[in-house]
Subunit: 126 residues, 2 copies
C-alpha cells in the first residue's frame, strides 16, 4: 500500500462495550446526518413511554430483548432488529443483560416525554 | 400471557439473507422515519461514487468489507460499522462475499449520481 495512504478505523461494538458497564445509559457511537447510532446495556424493566415524533430502531447484539406493547410484545435476539413506530407506547425488558444498538434522531430522550429518574444523559459519546 | 395479546415478529438478518443470493442488490428490511435499513451481499469491486446529499452507514454482519477512499481505506469486519460522510468518494470492495446492512435516507441510489450498469433497483423490499 502507498505509504502516504491513511488507514481509517471502524467503530467496533465490543470495543465500545468494553469501555462502560453501567446499564440504561446509551452512548453515541456514530452519526448518520441527524441520526445517531447508540450502544447500550440494559437489564430488568424500563418505564412505559413513547416517542411521539419519531420511530426508534433496536438492533440486538447479545441477549434477548423483549419489548412490551399495550397489545402484545416482540422478542428480539442477536442478529435481529425491530422498529417501534412513532407514538407507540412501549416498555423494553431484559431478564438478563442485553447489549444493543439504538438508531434514532439526535436529541431523543430514552424516556420520551415521561421524564423521571430513569431519564439518561443525552448525546453522551463514547 | 393473555391469549388476546399479539406476538410481533422481529426482523431477522439471516432469514432475510436466505431469501436471495444475488450480489450488489440491496433489499430494504426496515424504515426509521425517512431512513431505510437495507441488507446486501457484495463481492469484488464496486465503482467509485459519492453521495453529495447524505452520509451512508455500513454495518458488517459477515466477511470483511474494505472501503477505499482517495486518500486511504478502512476495513470493516463483523460487529463493526463505518459511516462514510456525505460527499466523500468511496469504493466498496470485498475479496470474499460480505453480508452487511446499509443505513441511509430513502431514495438513495447505490451508485450515487454515477449511474451505469452497476446501479441497482431502488426501494426493493424483502
Amino acid at each position: 500500500m502507498d505509504a502516504s495512504k491513511r488507514t481509517y478505523a471502524p467503530v467496533n461494538f465490543q470495543d465500545k462495550l468494553a469501555r462502560f458497564s453501567d446499564q440504561w445509559q446509551p452512548r453515541v457511537i456514530a452519526e448518520i446526518n441527524g441520526y445517531q447510532v447508540k450502544i447500550v446495556r440494559i437489564e430488568g424493566d424500563f418505564v412505559w413511554h413513547d416517542h411521539p415524533e419519531t420511530d426508534e430502531a433496536f438492533i440486538v447484539l447479545d441477549g434477548t430483548l423483549r419489548i412490551d406493547f399495550r397489545d402484545g410484545s416482540v422478542n428480539v435476539g442477536p442478529g435481529e432488529m425491530y422498529v417501534v413506530p412513532k407514538g407507540v407506547e412501549h416498555k423494553p425488558f431484559a431478564d438478563r443483560e442485553v447489549k444493543m444498538l439504538l438508531i434514532e434522531p439526535r436529541g431523543i430522550l430514552n424516556t420520551g416525554h415521561e421524564g423521571g429518574e430513569r431519564t439518561a444523559e443525552n448525546d453522551l459519546w463514547i
